[in-house]
Symmetry: C2
Subunit: 208 residues, 2 copies
């Protein structure tokens, strides 16, 4: 389906299409033109046609898009045709917040939470017991974990990342302020650097 040359900018827009199409489906809307979609999603109609043409184009001249087909196709492109096993390392407030998100409706199944804090170990979040961190590697191998949500402190981040890559975890969702050095280039790292996001706000505020 994809030609392997899709730009990051387009890829990063796909989840937004997916969210809006889900909303339309939930409202019982079956068909939408690129112009109507443009009005609700905030991209231009030509941008939308161009984006979707990257993946073969789903629209029909004079009809527009079938919402359910487009939603399903974008889900396939986004890799949502299979479940992913996930773990959370660092079960403090942020880890618990992530555990409580509804990521499982998209197929991201939480199979373990880990921490070094004795006060947290043994507690259950959404039915998942927080285990000591020294159980992480063994569990990742047993469960064949795909994605690790990294919510440790700055000091532990790189060491935990090293352990994760050694036990076959294929992606790290990195919430620490550390830019991880990963020797295995096939491991995907997606950073959520909160402070970088906040500093973008102050950049724009400063001149106002």
């Amino acid at each position: 389906m994809t030609n392997g040359k899709i730009s990051m900018t387009v890829i990063r827009r796909l989840p937004k299409y997916h969210r809006y199409l889900k909303d339309l489906l939930d409202k019982g809307i079956n068909r939408i033109s690129s112009k109507e979609l443009s009005e609700i999603i905030g991209f231009t109609a030509s941008q939308i046609r161009q984006d979707l043409n990257n993946f073969g184009g789903f629209g029909q001249q004079g009809y527009g898009y079938n919402v359910e087909d487009l939603f399903n196709e974008i889900g396939l492109i986004l890799g949502l045709s299979r479940p992913y096993k996930t773990v959370i390392i660092g079960a403090g407030n942020l880890g618990q917040a992530l555990a409580n998100y509804d990521f499982e409706v998209h197929g991201f199944q939480l199979v373990g939470m880990y921490d070094v804090d004795e006060n947290l170990i043994g507690r259950k979040i959404k039915g998942i017991e927080i285990k000591p961190s020294n159980r992480l590697v063994e569990d990742c191998v047993i469960h064949n974990v795909d994605i690790a949500y990294l919510c440790t402190n700055r000091e532990s981040a790189q060491n935990v990342a090293n352990a994760l890559t050694k036990c076959g975890v294929r992606a790290i969702w990195n919430f620490t302020p550390v830019d991880l050095k990963i020797s295995d280039e096939s491991v995907i790292v997606e950073d959520v650097h909160l402070i970088d996001s906040l500093l973008t706000i102050s950049y724009f505020l400063k001149d106002r």
Copy 2:
């Protein structure tokens, strides 16, 4: 200092420079060439020179950059020469996680936390008492709040955003999965759409 035409791509790289320069300062390193900076930060040396030239250029041929000067200058560019007053709306796990980050070292001073949940109201996080949400508007006016961290559920997000813009809040850091519609174009909205970030991971995982 800025010419007003800096691209978003460059702006989004500035916090990373700021983080790395802070690390260098903490290690007692006073001077660095663009080549050395390139090796640790992962941008090319020419990219670095080009980025910093956007803001007047701070390097000296044959000397490199003075780390402290560059750190301070980028801090100024990022608007860190003044403090910002912030509030958190939604004091669940995510709101509490944000309260516990060390954003105040950069001048982001938390002055209030709000929730509708009776079980949370009255608790103190980092010395800040969680107050009922109906106190939000009055407090924002009294404290002249700059930035609101929006951590409510999906259903409340737009209404809270409307209230915030009416009481003079200048920026919304939006952690809800909603794309907010803000009538006042001077209000800055910075989205942290976690699900979009996670779906980027599954996109890249799918072909592996």
